[in-house]
Symmetry: D2
Amino acid sequence: MIKVSIVGATGYVGIELMRLLQQHPQVIIKDLISKSNAKKKLVDVYPQFRGSKLENYTLIALEDFQPEDSDLIFSALPHGVSQDISSQLIKSGTKIIDMSGDFRYHDIEIYEKWYGVEHKHPELAKKAVYGLTELNRTQIKNAEFIANPGCYVTASLLGILPLIDSDLVKTESIIIDAKSGVSGAGRSLKSNLLFTECHNTMKAYSPAVHRHSSEIEYILNEFLQGSYDSRSSEQRAEILFTPHLIPIKRGILTTIYLDCKRKSSDSEIFSLYEDFYGQEKFVQVLKDELPEIKNIAGSNFAQLGFKYDQRTDRIIVISVIDNMLKGAAGQAVQNMNVLFGIDEDTGLQATALFP
Amino acid sequence: MIKVSIVGATGYVGIELMRLLQQHPQVIIKDLISKSNAKKKLVDVYPQFRGSKLENYTLIALEDFQPEDSDLIFSALPHGVSQDISSQLIKSGTKIIDMSGDFRYHDIEIYEKWYGVEHKHPELAKKAVYGLTELNRTQIKNAEFIANPGCYVTASLLGILPLIDSDLVKTESIIIDAKSGVSGAGRSLKSNLLFTECHNTMKAYSPAVHRHSSEIEYILNEFLQGSYDSRSSEQRAEILFTPHLIPIKRGILTTIYLDCKRKSSDSEIFSLYEDFYGQEKFVQVLKDELPEIKNIAGSNFAQLGFKYDQRTDRIIVISVIDNMLKGAAGQAVQNMNVLFGIDEDTGLQATALFP
Amino acid sequence: MIKVSIVGATGYVGIELMRLLQQHPQVIIKDLISKSNAKKKLVDVYPQFRGSKLENYTLIALEDFQPEDSDLIFSALPHGVSQDISSQLIKSGTKIIDMSGDFRYHDIEIYEKWYGVEHKHPELAKKAVYGLTELNRTQIKNAEFIANPGCYVTASLLGILPLIDSDLVKTESIIIDAKSGVSGAGRSLKSNLLFTECHNTMKAYSPAVHRHSSEIEYILNEFLQGSYDSRSSEQRAEILFTPHLIPIKRGILTTIYLDCKRKSSDSEIFSLYEDFYGQEKFVQVLKDELPEIKNIAGSNFAQLGFKYDQRTDRIIVISVIDNMLKGAAGQAVQNMNVLFGIDEDTGLQATALFP
Amino acid sequence: MIKVSIVGATGYVGIELMRLLQQHPQVIIKDLISKSNAKKKLVDVYPQFRGSKLENYTLIALEDFQPEDSDLIFSALPHGVSQDISSQLIKSGTKIIDMSGDFRYHDIEIYEKWYGVEHKHPELAKKAVYGLTELNRTQIKNAEFIANPGCYVTASLLGILPLIDSDLVKTESIIIDAKSGVSGAGRSLKSNLLFTECHNTMKAYSPAVHRHSSEIEYILNEFLQGSYDSRSSEQRAEILFTPHLIPIKRGILTTIYLDCKRKSSDSEIFSLYEDFYGQEKFVQVLKDELPEIKNIAGSNFAQLGFKYDQRTDRIIVISVIDNMLKGAAGQAVQNMNVLFGIDEDTGLQATALFP
């Protein structure tokens, strides 16, 4: 049994981790660490845990946490905050899966530019292993410290990588139009996240300048340069990314526009995806059918669909994931499974909750 | 392993049964029977089953179904239709859990009056065992044919029974104000179920005359008369029931108003509930806290809260269930577990999906 | 032309007042007073006013406001705060319509008990005129200071008054089960008002102890004792009130349960309502049809429907209003029209916005 | 006073026309024609018209309609159906504003290719005047027959035209990612429009092949070739258009990606928009701020925002409209005002209904 603890347990990502881990057959949940809710009973903060294995857990403060008693720590802290705490905790020798943006870039300069904060632990950033499971499984297996990807980034990369891998599309003119449910913004008290401000409406935010732009672009460039296999390409990726907020609780849909280098066809593209994802358990490639959030919300699956437009020689790729699962906690558990050498879908077999 | 089949597999209750059963560790799903979708692949009708154990299932027609090859049949057909089919299927000797209203009344006259149809199989109705697990576990254990309760009925009875059991409240003036998500209406094509007609609005329907009124009242009277234990009361239950449609997908909240026979207190009432439900796994009694649909949606739990009003000597009981789970498919699986002598929460341990 | 100003202009009630008043053919909006947004341009706080007459307005602080330059002030402040400010402003001689709970009770003791604050201006509370237009039109005509009713209270009283007026129902056992959209809670930053916490769920709150309980009961008792006409009844009203939060933006639906004193019928009850509301422009009595929020959201109408239950001799009344309109700003404008002797529906003729 | 009638009165566009027209100070509504609801009272089909001027209207069949008694007919029929009926009605000499796609293309071949039906009245299509008011006001003034634009088309063209007009962007690589509320799909009974299928989810549909693609492209090409002014460009427009369904009732948001021909800046682009729209009452150009559906839903306004991305020399344009208003009925009334020489915003001054 794997003993796990969660730091930042009472954010939305934290509780999603708990929901998954308390039913994972090979996990024992050790400590739940929360600054704002320390010493409270978990069920008094989140009543849905009544009747679960966590029913009688009490949240503890970080200073009362002994990291060395756990086999794995999930750090579900905000970026900036995670830097210091994760780099402290790793000294205990316990493995960490970090959910923040702090350790996703080996190149600190890009991080500092897009996040607008100084990075105080560049050496840890350098050795952190990027946790997009389907891309980086081999390194994840042996990692000490895993940087779990951003939600938008996971949805985008899963859709783009096969097309870049096969050299079918131009890498410098990728457009990603992304739509996310409101849970992606966390539980922070902002007036623009109130029900009355979000319901029955929609908006774009941070066009071209959202931090996940830089993460998508950075990983694509690492990929082109051979960080994830033996390739070495001269090409550089450049992406334009616009996120939108939609009035749903969970789910991301990205619509990606790519220019083909040559004529193609729906059947060729389907083959490329099939080849790339082969036996992947959590990536579904659809043919003559489009993904929809309700088909995967509540599950760890990503669904990919696409349409080749003969008129303009472009491919429209549509990907959907549950931002709380494949976009955050689900992928973190998937990475944990890889790390501890157990079946990758252990504890992650749920089908979407529909209706 | 229990071999189960589902008749009426592609209605909302049918797919919820599949969602639960494909992950149940002691179940093998045998046949999925659907009239409207026979010969189609399940994933072409409900894409969320891609990646599940049911991925390669094909729906079959009733005439191609051999009931004797299953250990248990879930019949998820509409009332009226279920009458004939369930009474045919039971002849195979296979046990049945019937989800319709057709077999919930031993007294056929009440059924015929409220459902407005003739009952052609009164002998089967007589021997059907009512499937409110917490009320009728002993009979369910040995049943051949289980009539699974209505969704509103489950939410209402769980809230009312302990107060009647303890003789604290008047039985002839119970008012139930119930609110249900739209999935309760099924997948039928009616203009009043369109998104644009249901979103951002609310309405009452069938006040005082909804069929579930009669079921609640009937079971309460059976209870008073000793059908479920050794009691024998002179009292008669009379309820007034008003359902409402709310713009959510799943979940029922009932607000029940009961007149006390004498002064009481919140702490006395809490004790009554605690005593009544004792070690029940799926009923949670809250103290100084009110139930909320999000705390149980996606789980098989019922949550009960209450408030004693000293000014008017009334008790306000609030109960919430997920209409697809404890209100339908979840309770059916719970009954299956009882019937086959396995742990009652096997396959039903999921925590609410929140956010 | 009537010169009006709004104090507390940037709360939800304030902006609804502006939306209505900027299109009112006999109104000039003078000053918009806001503490939190003073000196900001209105369109920078609420962009929907771009393109309206208010496009170039700047919000001002209370200390820069000259009340005597307006003919009427709408005070849309929270209770407690309104007490002091309204009682200061009234000294200018300008008429006031106050939207808070501070001046709705002539009997200060009831206010202090239910609101839990001291009332520092009982003399003003005494002379304030209660602004349920259909009940109190004659006094409103000549008022100096109008206390606009609560939203739940308006929906409840409109449904109950005709039945009490005709002495058909018992006054001491009225049960009101009310459901409100989230805008009723205002724009305050509370985590339970976040989209992710309110969407796709429902809950009850403050059962039996919500402040509007006391207002409904108080006005009913005033009515019985002849405060609004020449009657003088020995009866006392006692109500039990449970509000619920539903995931819609605007709209209230109340389901009211009343015990009849004698046998009645749907047609008798319809006549009572018709007689009571006669030529009222904003109250619609439905026959053989139930009200629905979407039929009135965005309009100042109240819709009333009902069902007489022969089995239990009870009447179920269902009323719907838009909490922002007939429940707040719309009724305030209606009262302004009465006060200034212009057609009661001036500026209020909008039909519900559907879909 | 203008006497108007509506054919296809009980579709969603029809009832939105009624909502607007019954409050228009210079309009008398004459006949409401409906095939499916002929002889019914309007309020029995749409209860929200209770209390309005239309309260006592009865819907009539087409064969009982005398078109010559009206000054203007709004035809709100589906495409295909509208062809025959509008071309019959125009013979009466009464002016028509047609809401369908049938007469939006002077070039019948494009229509036939994208709509998949034969056009039986090419001569009427030739003389129909395209009703994007801001583009074509001069011709609308003198029109006999106006083809009102598609909803997606209006949102897209308003965002794109100023940039093409100023020759800043490439015309052959425009990408439009559009999102629409469900009312855009009308009231037809399709299972994918049920609440339970649309709520809390999102999907793309018809990528690259939606009919509105062809309309956007066709009008842009007409514009480039000088159909709307004296220009004559060699350039051809080519657009790639992907619509999505979002769980809101009304509203469209389009995110448009355009390649610049040269370096630009946010301030230059703002000037271009300002110059192009000058004194337009219904088009709002935002600076340093992004449009949001809630700011215009319930109003006839379009809001435009944009972001120049220096990294990729692209412009991201975001436009929002209410699909029922500026996207359909509102623009039709705007065109009626132009046609009859009255103030363009008569009857259209409503501010967005928020919250």
